[in-house]
Subunit: 362 residues, 2 copies
């Protein structure tokens, strides 16, 4: 997996211990840089007591708050101690863990699938919304209604077994590239957030993704990219039906919404799938509002954070909070910024708080 | 928690190591016997290589199959090795992990709640199904239709927040007793199955309960009784809605079914909540058929087992498989027994395979 595995490294037994440490850290960093889709696990806290668990973060209120939260909730002698069984942290995906512009990755997948399926559907050249997708009419696509998207989702996400859907997503991910970065979408994860996830896990937190995106779409790559098992993905889903194909049972994806994990649905999803109120919640848009509110309504010390995309140089800039452009994808309204400030939720400035955004950056 | 905690035991440093072991084992057994609702964790395999992990099982095909399954799926050099990430085991609850006769525990809870709420509902004395419940007319209750039970569930399980429901269940469990055993319902778990769960966990399996019962009902005691976290309970559930009570967000339980985790729904529930096909599945009735079928349809070595209640002396006897009485609760039809025999699913005979059923037995 990694170019530099421990097996290939002979550390002379006579080398001083701290020099071995330094060498190992350098190798771990190098290994990380060479394996973009497999983040190197952060070192265990007991082994590297002085290492910074959040090296991709600039010093500031956000970084300080995360470190303080972990320290206080794991300090058995302090007033904010959280028993290990109760340590739950939740993360939105699009715009919080990876890039969501110019369009949600799953939306790109759906449009690409329409184009791939078009040859077997000649009637689509005369029917909207398929016609605009096939013509790649970006202006028309940007104006698609909910009904248009429902037709696209029903065509590209339903009428197949869960196994067939998984394979289709796998094949797409292996070849699709982001138009701006010209890299696989799974490369576009935020290194600072991977560090937060790793640090929370090392401190006994169980971490879950709580995404408006499709539960079965995200599961395809979530273990490899973020280390989330399928059971740790709470997402939107379609109705599944138990059927037989040549005597073998299959689960068919029906063109009918089962659960919408967005807005208030995220609090419901947390209760249904996790069953415990989180102590930490990370989001970036209006769809995460209730998830943060629900998290914050529990007793004791909790941390709620929102990523603000204010870095057009390295990533994107959109709000419309703080006077940023209003893009319609991953909307962060001024009302949410005001509520965050009033309630003590932290706003993470991508531009100021993140020293490094992607693993592939130099 | 335990009467004999390590703190109270001074083991002299001069005592021989194996004598310390023996003493510790005796103390663990005593501690287990004195703490009926908190099963003592089985010893870790690397510490006690020669200990029997399933001491409450008689020697026989079922016990042998479980031990062989665990051995082969964890043997890296063998053909049936299962990587740790894929090790999933699922367990039905009613009749598989605890007593379900004469009525499902959650059914008893619902009837008790009707009686507790009756004083504030004088109209119930004239309205079915409430009238029969209040009069404790067991013959009428045994003939309740699905619509009757829906009315009872809507009244006793909905119209309250998830927190209020949890508290209600907690209070009920603290006082309710099983009519035959005169013990709390949470004492009526099957020790042999606790041993299987512990043995699978110690061998890297993630264990989940997949129950037709209410997800939020079972979660109240599942951690204490079985060691399942709330996220490890897949069950039936009602629609939840996000509301505010005095400015504070609450999740209201609506009188509308969200998900029925029974029959084919168990395979759907596994896919939705766990997202990986199990390698081991344990059930006891017709409602577990598809769960076992779905488990068995995967590649490689899998184990599927059904508990047959054929022990009227120590527990209950019902089928109607194998000529046992047909009770209507936890039905195990002959067709399921025939299918099990044809497909190599194991049937566990409570009478012959289980040396000891309950922790409270002498």
């Amino acid at each position: 997996m990694h170019m530099f595995s421990r097996r290939n490294i002979a550390i002379h037994p006579g080398v001083h211990r701290s020099a071995q440490f330094l060498l190992l850290i350098i190798l771990l960093i190098l290994a990380g840089a060479c394996a973009p889709t497999t983040p190197a696990p952060a070192p265990a806290p007991e082994t590297y007591p002085d290492a910074d668990p959040l090296p991709s973060w600039n010093d500031g209120a956000a970084k300080e708050a995360i470190l303080k939260f972990v320290k206080e909730t794991t300090d058995e002698s302090g007033p904010n101690f959280v028993p290990p069984d109760d340590r739950i942290a939740v993360f939105d995906q699009d715009g919080t863990l990876w890039v969501e512009h110019p369009l949600y990755t799953q939306g790109v997948f759906a449009l690409d699938r329409i184009r791939a399926l078009a040859p077997s559907h000649p009637e689509w050249s005369q029917t909207e919304p398929f016609k605009s997708v096939i013509a790649n009419d970006t202006q028309a696509i940007s104006k698609f209604t909910e009904t248009d998207w429902e037709a696209i989702i029903a065509t590209t996400h339903a009428g197949m077994t869960t196994e067939q859907f998984t394979e289709t997503v796998q094949h797409w991910l292996a070849t699709a590239k982001h138009p701006r970065y010209n890299r696989p979408y799974t490369d576009l994860v935020y290194l600072p957030m991977l560090e937060v996830i790793a640090w929370l896990r090392e401190n006994g937190f169980r971490t879950f993704m709580v995404t408006g995106g499709g539960q079965f779409f995200v599961r395809v790559y979530a273990r490899k990219v973020y280390g989330f098992s399928p059971a740790e993905i709470v997402g939107s889903s379609l109705v599944l039906s138990y059927q037989y194909d040549g005597g073998k049972p299959v689960l068919m994806r029906e063109p009918k919404l089962f659960f919408m994990d967005d807005g208030p649905g995220k609090a419901v999803g947390i209760e249904l799938f996790i069953g415990q109120r989180p102590f930490a919640a990370f989001g970036n848009s209006n769809g995460d509002r209730e998830m943060l509110e629900w998290t914050g309504a529990g007793y004791g010390k909790r941390i709620m954070m929102l990523v603000l995309h204010d870095d057009p140089e390295r990533e994107y800039a959109y709000g419309p909070a703080e006077g940023l452009p209003n893009s319609g994808v991953g909307t962060f309204p001024q009302s949410l910024a005001d509520e965050a400030n009033a309630k003590g939720w932290f706003i993470i400035s991508m531009k100021n708080d993140w020293k490094r955004i992607f693993l592939f950056e130099e």
